[in-house]
Every structure is written in C-alpha cells, then in structure tokens.
Amino acid sequence: MSMAAVTRTRIFPLALGIGALAAAILAAEVLIRVGVINRFIVPLPSQIVPAFERVIVEEDIVERFRLTFFEAFTAGAMITVVGVSLGFLLFRINILRQATETWVAALASAPTVLMYPLFLVIFGRSAWTIIMMGFVAGLPPVILKTIEGLAGTRRVLINVGKSFKLTGPQLFTKILFPAALPTIFVGIRLGLIFTLINVVGVEFLINFGGLGQLINDLAERYDLPGTYAAICFVILVSVCFFVLTERVERWLRPVD
C-alpha cells in the first residue's frame, strides 16, 4: 500500500493522534528528568499513570465524573436551547439585535466566573450554582453564532423557499436552520468549552461537586500526580462532549 493510500485510511488519523500524544508524553518525561521542567510543578508522566488507579479506587472518580458530566451536560443543554432561541429572536427582531448584540459580545469576553459569590447567594452551595455559572459563561457564543449562521444564509436559498410558498415556520425549519447549522454548532462547541471551564472552575472555587472539587482536594494535599490524573478525567469529559456534539451534528446534517 502506498503512503498516500495509508494516509487515506480511517485508522491513520487516529493512530497519528495517539502517536503524537505518546510522543508529547515521552518528551515531557525526558524534559522533566533532565531538569528542563521543574518536577515540583509538573510530575513525571510515569508517576501520573499509576496515580490513575489510586484516583479511581480511592477518590470515587466515577461518581465525580458523573456529577461533573451531569452539570456540564445540563448547562450545555440549556445554552443550546436558550442560546439558539435567543439567537433566532435577535435575528428576527433587528432593533433588538442592534440594541443588544454588542452587550452579548461583551458578555462573551467577561470573566463571569468572578461572579460566583453572587450565584452562591442566589442558588446556595449546590449543583445549580455550578450549572448556572456554566450556563451564563457558555451562552453568548451560542447566541452570536446562531445570529451569524442565520444571517449568513444565502439569499438565493431563502428565495427558493419563498418561490415554493413556504410558511414562516417552514422557512425556518427547512432552510434557515439547516443552512445555519454548521455555524450554530461552532457556537455550541465554543459555548461548551466555556461551560466546562466554568463548571470545573466553580467546583474548584466553592469546593463542591465533581472533578473540580477533587482537583482542589488533591492540590491541597500536594498530590501532583493525582491532580494531573484528575485533570485527565476533565479532558475525558470534554472529549465526550465533542464526540456527542459531532454525532448530533452529523445526524442533523449528514454532509458538509
């Protein structure tokens, strides 16, 4: 099989990705061992690997993973439903869009995580504080990208719909929404990133809940290999979300 044919196989990108990760881990191991990276800040990967077993067995990682996933999933579902709805509303009502789009964009870059004391007062030290913080942080990109996607629908596609006498809701479901879907999903992915960062961040800050709290606990104990192992589980939550959104997008719009 030629090299070009090998690169076209489905297994090649996966193998390349795993290989690159393994190479990066190996490089980190070497750099730490030779003293380029301080081992009191970054533990050796060879120390992190056995820490996985300890974290799984001793720290109830499954329940913590489930809790963080639930919080992030709930906040993610909320940013999707509310964000797409608000985006559509702002797209349809131009005056509202002109009045608020800049504020929404400003909110996207605001460090909303600093508002956690306010959310603690409103929702108490509960999962809802974490979910709402994740929701507020992840909402703006979904709104902005929904507006961008709907506004970017090619005029000719809308005219095709009009020529077939589509009603307003038909025009939205049959043309505007599917045309905007790739851009909307960019917004959802961005929103999920902000949401997950905030969910884990607030868990860490208020020392409550899932993986964020665990990272806090392990860091307090100066268990660096355990801390990094827990961070790997946060990455796993992120991977789960990205796989999920990709599947949903593929289901809604099978080709692009």
């Binding site: 095709v160 009009k162 020529s163 589509l166 038909q170």
Partner: protein, 290 residues
C-alpha cells in the same frame, strides 16, 4: 433573412392583445428604486405575453433590469406599477403556477439529490414514498439517474443546476421562469444543458420564460426573444426565432442561427455600449468623490 417583428404596443390596447393570447402576461410594469444618487427607474413600462408552451427569452445588457423583472414576475419583489397575471389571475407574491430557477447555485447542500428534487413535494405534504417515486421521474428527465443519493457537493456545477431545474419541474409549474441559469457554467456545458432544456421543454410542452444576457443561448432555445434597452429597462424589440424544432445545440452552426445572433447583437450593441459608458462615468464620479 430572419423575420423581425417590433413590439410592444404600449397602452391598454397592447396589453389587452397580449392578455388575449398569453398564459403569462406582464402589463406595463414600472419599477423604481431609491438610491443614494436619487430615484432609479430599473424597469419602465415593460409588457410581454408568453403563450402556452412557448419559450420566450428576455435579453439585455447588464443593468437593464432583467433580474428585477424576474423577481417581479416570480412574486419576490413588490412595490411596482403595472400588473403580472397568470391565466388571468393577478400575481401577488410567489404564485404556484410559476416555478423559478435561479442564476446562483441554489441546491440545498444538506439534502441528497433526490431529497432536493422532492422538496416541493414534501412541502405539498406528499408521503416520502410517493414523492421519491415522482422525484425519480424528474431526475431521469434531467439525465441524473444513478446520482439520487449523492449530495450537491459531490456534483459538478452543471449537474447541480440540473438538480435545481428538476426540483422546480417537480412542483409542476405551468410556467418555468429561469434567470440566467447557465451563467456560471462554461460554454460547452452551457450548450449541452441547453440541449437538455430544449428536450425537457419539448417533452413537457413547458411554457418557459428565460432571462439571459447570452445571445447564442437565447437564439438556441427561444421561440421569441425580447430585447431590452439599457437603463431604464424598456422593450426595444421582439424577435421571432424561426428555426426548426426539435432543436439541439447543432443549430448553432446553421447560417440562420448566425444571422439571428448578428441581428440581436446589432440591437444589443448600442445598449451594451451605453451601459459600459454609464458604468465608466459612475466609476470616475465615485473616484472623484472619494
């Protein structure tokens, strides 16, 4: 020598005469746009009538209001004077008897070829099975059988435009309204697609109104060609194309074809020159202003 008949008779008598014969009648349409430079009359007292089964082409230089006329007839543009009627019924908004094919690529990229063609049937509430059976007929008509489950991104520009034509035909319009459907295609594809359109028009006896700026395309396809003036767009002349049917792209090599092309070009040349000069002067003015 090809026969050339001047049209139209402006005013009520002309409109009445047109209305008597036409399934589609455009009567004294005037459309004005407000621009930063002041009001611009895009279309000025344009009247035409398309007979059942006829292929009428509207030709004119860029900026003569062809696309404005297309949008008015298709019901996508309002705020004009005059009237458009289909079978005696005034057009107010998109009319089910008029099927539109657009200049730009207009297939839905998220739908397969058959889902694209079945789209108007889906909107009409037909079951999935029935609409796919019917869609296959129109896919065969445009010569795309075997590509039913391909997505537009997997097709060439010419194939995508055939999908758009099939999708419009699937709604079984009385009048097929096309706005420069082959404008983005190369000359050879354009000629071959012209053959396909001729064949479809002959098979379905489809009344067709084609908006174009391409003289050879208009002569190859049309029974009559309406020549428009450059801004404001008015009817300059109606040319009867007396070439034998059934036609194919072979007709372009005939002597009569060449005469028609030359004749229409002599009409258009003056308008196209005026358009070019106007564009140059506006570019200069814009440059001076900046």
């Amino acid at each position: 020598m090809a026969s050339v008949a001047t049209l139209p008779k402006s005013g009520a008598a002309g409109a009445q005469a047109a209305a008597d014969a036409g399934i589609l009648v455009v009567d004294e349409i005037v459309k004005q746009f407000d621009t930063p430079e002041g009001p611009l009359i895009a279309v000025d007292r344009v009247s035409l009538s398309v007979r059942p089964g006829e292929f009428l082409a509207v030709i004119g230089p860029s900026g003569c209001g062809k696309s404005t006329l297309f949008n008015i007839i298709g019901g996508l543009l309002d705020g004009y004077q005059g009237a458009v009627t289909v079978g005696g019924e005034t057009v107010r908004g998109p009319h089910p008897a008029i099927g539109m094919v657009f200049q730009e690529e207009s297939t839905f990229p998220w739908r397969t070829l058959i889902e694209n063609v079945a789209f108007p049937l889906e909107i009409a509430g037909m079951s999935r099975k029935d609409r796919f059976v019917k869609a296959k007929k129109f896919i065969a008509l445009v010569g795309l059988s075997g590509f039913e489950n391909r997505y537009p991104a997997e097709l060439s520009g010419g194939m995508r435009q055939r999908v758009a034509i099939a999708r419009t035909l699937a709604s079984e319009p009385k009048i097929l309204l096309m706005d420069e459907p082959f404008a983005s295609l190369d000359e050879q594809t354009r000629l071959l697609l012209g053959d396909k359109v001729l064949q479809i028009q002959q098979d379905l006896k489809q009344t067709t109104l084609l908006i174009t700026h391409n003289i050879t395309e208009a002569v190859q396809l049309a029974d009559r060609i309406l020549v428009m003036t450059y801004r404001p767009g008015r009817v300059k002349r109606m040319v009867e194309i007396d070439l034998p049917r059934p036609r194919s792209s072979d007709v372009v090599s005939s002597e009569a074809f060449g005469r028609y092309v030359a004749q229409i070009w002599s009409d258009l040349r003056e308008e196209a020159t005026r358009g070019m000069q106007d564009e140059e002067s506006r570019t200069l003015q814009a440059g001076d202003a900046s």
